[in-house]
Amino acid sequence: MGKWTRRGFITAGVLGGSALIIGVAIRPGNRATALSGLTTEGSESLINAWVKIDADNKVTAIVPHSEMGQGAQTALTQMLADELDANWEDVSFMEAPAEDEYANWALGKGFVLGDTPIPKIFAGSVDGLFIQVSKAMHLQITGGSLSIRSTGVYGMRVAGAAAKEVLKEAAAKEWNVKTSELTTDKGIIKHKASGKEAPYANFAVAAGHISAPRSPILKSPDQFTIMGKSKPRLDIPSKVDGSAMFGVDVVVDNMKIASIAAAPVFGAKLEKVDTSDAKKMPGVVKIIELENAVAVVAEGYWQATQALAATKITWSKTDNDQLNSDAIYKQFDDAIIGALEKGETNTDISTGDSDSALKQGKVISRKYRVPYLAHACMEPMNAVASVANGKCEVWTGTQNPLGCKYDLAAALDIDASNVTVNNYFMGGGFGRRSIADTAIQAALISKALGAPVKLIWSREEDTQHDHYRPAVVSHFQAALDEESLPTAWLNQYVDKHEPVEAPYIPYSIDNQQISYVDSPTHIPFGPWRSVDHSQHGFFTESFIDELAIEAKEDPYHFRQKLLSHHPRHLKVLDLAAERSDWGRPLGKHQGRGISLQASFGSIVAEVVEVSLIEGKIKVDRVVVAVDAGFAVSPDGLTAQMESGVIYGLTAALYGDVEIEAGKVKQSNFDDYPMVRMSDSPVIETHIINSMESWGGAGEPGTPGTAPALANAIFDATGTRVRKLPVSNYDFNIEFIEQNEV
């Protein structure tokens, strides 16, 4: 009954005898390259979107993304509801569970249908290519700012439009009129000539038996009624009265509480444990040894932490027990220099003849570096697990429920069909909650204990056992010609992850040589809000600024000149400059800086204004211009820009995870500080709806903040910040760094 469209599979059916359900499985093919990174094997991935219309005309959008605060679920629901012409007041959403008897979490056992089997109507879709592709997937990630630009554009809108079409077709049949004579509005189908009108629900069953359209017609932007409006977020009311359930709030029957200490040096193993004092302490249930960690299980969290502190643990020695940050940075520097000498770098981009351009021009060389960073989600890592009789059930907040399920299955050596993951609100994700390490620990502890357990990491554990934003060193050379225009751009850096284009620049420079060298360390790493853009945004936008200074040009105008072939970028840059009143005279110890960074399909320009007050940098104002193609929820996009800027500012001003004797030195918010109310700037966001392809919102605000800040600090003080964080600089002594780090 379902049909393949160019990109996906649409199918319709009836649930529980009275509800219409429409499913869309996305087959991105090679056009939607944004999705290709989601597959673990093979070249295709699936993301499903579903809509259910009940007998009482209530619409439920079933959203395959978890909510970590970005409001994606509301925006996705808006996209579906608009195409459906639903009545917004009757629309709600639910999150698809981590089930994949093909990637149809929506129809998984125990969900929507209760325990009824998968309806026949889907039988055709449960085998063949579907099952192949979904098997290769195991991923249901919220991250990479993918929600709107992939699931939303290719899934939710199509699902809404398809549902509307089958409903109209069913109504046309029943009223014996032409489909083209019907209109829809707020969940009602109308036939003007006869004056007939009826709610969608009246046709739900009949529509479920109609073959779904191959490619439903989507609205043009001028027809949008719900998209483009700032609808109040559906999850917010539960977040003001304490009722929102986060992973850490879950309680299951007979549950005990665990606190854990993993080996401080990554890679070390547990050697021996002296529990003689700890096991006698009140409330202690059991002390469990894992390969590289010790967990104390107790009646309460505090009792568990107290007993853990009293447990004497010896860890195995490792090769990294003496390693510190300086040695790592030196390793990176040496790796770049060595690889360059041997001509062994991995090429990202190689155009023109950079070497001869260097010989002919004025050469400028700079080195930058950024440290490891923790995610510091507000809610420390945690998971509830119950493992018994070869089955595992986990309750946690995860950005990747399906991946979590498969990682648990592998860790417990059981079949994934015996693993259930229940997802909850996340107190921040930022990439950290795409990794299943805590859930796996909880499962192993529960298995050893023989009872359900809630594992809560202390803040110290959270800071010291993250999967860190990688530290990176990046070396640059450029040449300026007689007119002070750049003719060569050479950039070599360590370690490439995602996305590939992170170090690329939009500026027209003929001769470019961008390459990298691998230089592994023992520090675990993972995606951190905006991934590689968080480092390269700082590097490239600092260096282009330095070239402007060398060229004795205004940094904004210098960029402008190099963007004539990128009108979309230019417009964003111009808007930020204009709204910040670029050029307005500033006070003596004040400065401003600009940055431009495209990431995850969106273009963002930021202007940061700072003051130097008693030797300290105060960030006064950040003006953001963003072109995300189209803002489904303008206020949602604005909130994401504000959030991304503060996240980027915290990192740029204070963020420094230092390695000392192989382990992380920082431990809690006292030594790993956050931007607070008192040091947060005014943030103004300006949105361009270019109607180009839709981009992400959660991440693109972050990468441009550090460079705009560093550029502003240079403007205010003459000090060029090339090694983050800013807090490592002493602005009481006025000095200007020379051409080296």
Partner: protein
């Protein structure tokens, strides 16, 4: 045995008197709106009112709350509806992940009760103990100002036990029972 009232309801807990109030509230009383963020008084996620005064419950031993009246995020709305701060948080779309917001709201309620028309500096000093990792500071500030503008009158925190309001003297921080209305 530790006795206290939470949101007007009497509780007797037979627990180690050194247990931080936070964990007594979350695990023993079972109110999970109050959050754990750092455990060392650095983030404010665990903020509750102890006899009307905002405190970080992660570092207060439960023994110190013996005989006290505690208000948590679950106790600030009354039967007439949400507390004005809660409504302002919805109107300004303040929460992102929402994890810090119980603490933010408890700090904001106390601030507005003490200073119904706070300056930016008042807001900075009252709210800077509350970290929002999602960076919603501008919205939090707007939420507070919205309430201040909506009612220049005293904002009070409802005390469900006797229908009285609690107000604390901004100069001394001391809370006294007052008759409201």
């Amino acid at each position: 045995m530790i006795n206290f009232k939470i949101n007007g309801k009497q509780h007797s807990l037979d627990i180690d008197p050194d247990t931080p109030l936070l964990w007594a509230i979350r695990e023993n009383v079972g109110l999970t709106g109050t959050k754990f963020g750092c455990g060392i008084s650095q983030c404010g996620a665990c903020t509750v009112h102890l006899n009307g005064v905002p405190v970080r419950s992660c570092i207060i031993p439960v023994a110190a709350a013996d005989g006290a009246e505690i208000t948590t995020i679950e106790g600030i709305a009354d039967e007439s509806g949400l507390h004005p701060i809660q409504q302002a948080w919805i109107d300004e779309q303040v929460p992102q992940c929402g994890y810090c917001q119980s603490g933010q709201i408890m700090s904001a309620v106390a601030l507005l009760r003490d200073k119904p028309d706070p300056t930016d500096a008042d807001i900075d000093s009252a709210m800077s103990g509350n970290v929002c990792r999602c960076g919603m500071y501008a919205r939090i500030k707007r939420g507070i100002k919205r309430v201040a503008a909506d009612s220049k009158a005293m904002v009070s925190i409802y005390n469900p036990t006797n229908g009285e309001a609690k107000e604390s003297d901004p100069a001394t921080g001391i809370t006294e029972e007052v008759q409201h209305g």
